[in-house]
Symmetry: D2
Subunit: 158 residues, 4 copies
Amino acid sequence: MGVHMSNSIKKQDVQALVEHFNVIRPFNKVLGLSAESMDTENACVHFIMREELLGNSVYGTLHGGVISAILDITGGFVVFLDLFKKVKGKSREKLMEQLTKVATIDMRVDYLRPGIGQEFTASGYILRTGKKMAVVRMELHSDKDVLIAVGTASYIVG
Amino acid sequence: MGVHMSNSIKKQDVQALVEHFNVIRPFNKVLGLSAESMDTENACVHFIMREELLGNSVYGTLHGGVISAILDITGGFVVFLDLFKKVKGKSREKLMEQLTKVATIDMRVDYLRPGIGQEFTASGYILRTGKKMAVVRMELHSDKDVLIAVGTASYIVG
Amino acid sequence: MGVHMSNSIKKQDVQALVEHFNVIRPFNKVLGLSAESMDTENACVHFIMREELLGNSVYGTLHGGVISAILDITGGFVVFLDLFKKVKGKSREKLMEQLTKVATIDMRVDYLRPGIGQEFTASGYILRTGKKMAVVRMELHSDKDVLIAVGTASYIVG
Amino acid sequence: MGVHMSNSIKKQDVQALVEHFNVIRPFNKVLGLSAESMDTENACVHFIMREELLGNSVYGTLHGGVISAILDITGGFVVFLDLFKKVKGKSREKLMEQLTKVATIDMRVDYLRPGIGQEFTASGYILRTGKKMAVVRMELHSDKDVLIAVGTASYIVG
């Protein structure tokens, strides 16, 4: 160990911000998201199937609105983590200020397969970032590793 | 009174199907939708702001996920009403069977302005329909008639 | 008559810029566009069917790539004219500088019907503009007034 | 030789169809595409920068319309090759008949970086296929391996 990177972001700081974010975003709670759902190491969002999230209670599939909501949140989360890496050394207040500026411009969602599963994981990666905006691709997989939906979204970042 | 159009769709039939649809789609209830929310005359979906739907409790704005969910539901509702007009004379069972085949292929959402308001109305219109698919445009307005978001989606219809 | 609005944009200035734009964009010429194609009064782009623009010489339909190219150009043109209105009083150089910053972020195109016709008109309108970006909706109609395709695009404007 | 797989698609058959396709699609020629541009082994489309393809002759960048056209063609080409694999044993006439049914429903293009380069390669892969439609993702890279643009498109296939 020994080496202390003074300007690196502490994992607990990221976690604290994620937690705060979920608190100020009540709808995230409706979707069943919490700080534990947000995997800051792998830029993933996990969630568990619940009756409330069904779009079709006969087929037991996720609602399309849940899918698009999760993909949008995941894209924003990816942008969020990317900003963290760039703003090393900034205070938590500065970070939070910048993070509140992140907003989705537009998003495309492709609903590929029925959202069947006990648990789901949404992940994403940056296609491009700049000072003004970022473009992110997102994917939603079931616990059987079935690709359920993909998305592409543009975000304002500053 | 007097004139009975035997092959027209009765308003109560449409309403019954909408009600059934909301029952088998639990997430619609989470969004605060009910049969009364779905205006079958004007192809509109109304809903009321609630704390659970917030994406930012500081600014009091709708969650992006709520917006995309409502737009997708509205697009499907527009397709649903369009199918009704075409399948005149069919039994309620036949109608329901066809309606369960409706599925969103993909959707683009443009988040234009903050989702601020006490009540919201989402509406939509058909851009093209065929035997296989339909393309629909959707809009979300606040009670101050501010255009908050628009969307375009493709649906499988048969 | 009498009143001279010193800071209004002269029509010949707009036309000169459009002409310049088409010159520095060789592909516009390939599509058959010229300064005359760009209707600065109505924010429309007109073009005439030519064999080179066919996507299917058997059916005589426009190539999808021509359709998406025209919609993108039209959206940029709408942004261009909107900037003109806002930057009243600026020099032609300033205007041109700002205009070269306009770039498409992303675009969705819906191909609704076969591109059949002798002439076509693409038009568009602003959904939202700000200091950083603009969102525009575009439509392509044939000379028989058939709606052939629609698009939505986000543009960086500053 | 020895083993003859009677129901496999011969490479020359694919190539013949690609050639035919480019012939009946005059706009492909405008873009500089030929049978040699279409790599049936790797589902790639190659093309060379030419003055006509410029969107900005000052910066020397590809026109956005060229980018969207190439991405759409590439997505269709990926669907085309996928159909080939599935319809093994069918006659060339049957194949061609099915191929002419392929049509783009909608497409999203993200313009990530300026289209600078001497040569470009567009590639794509299937996200989902079925009897009615296919969803494809496409990418455009420069000869410096810079990711210039990505796209996602839905196609009717039957």
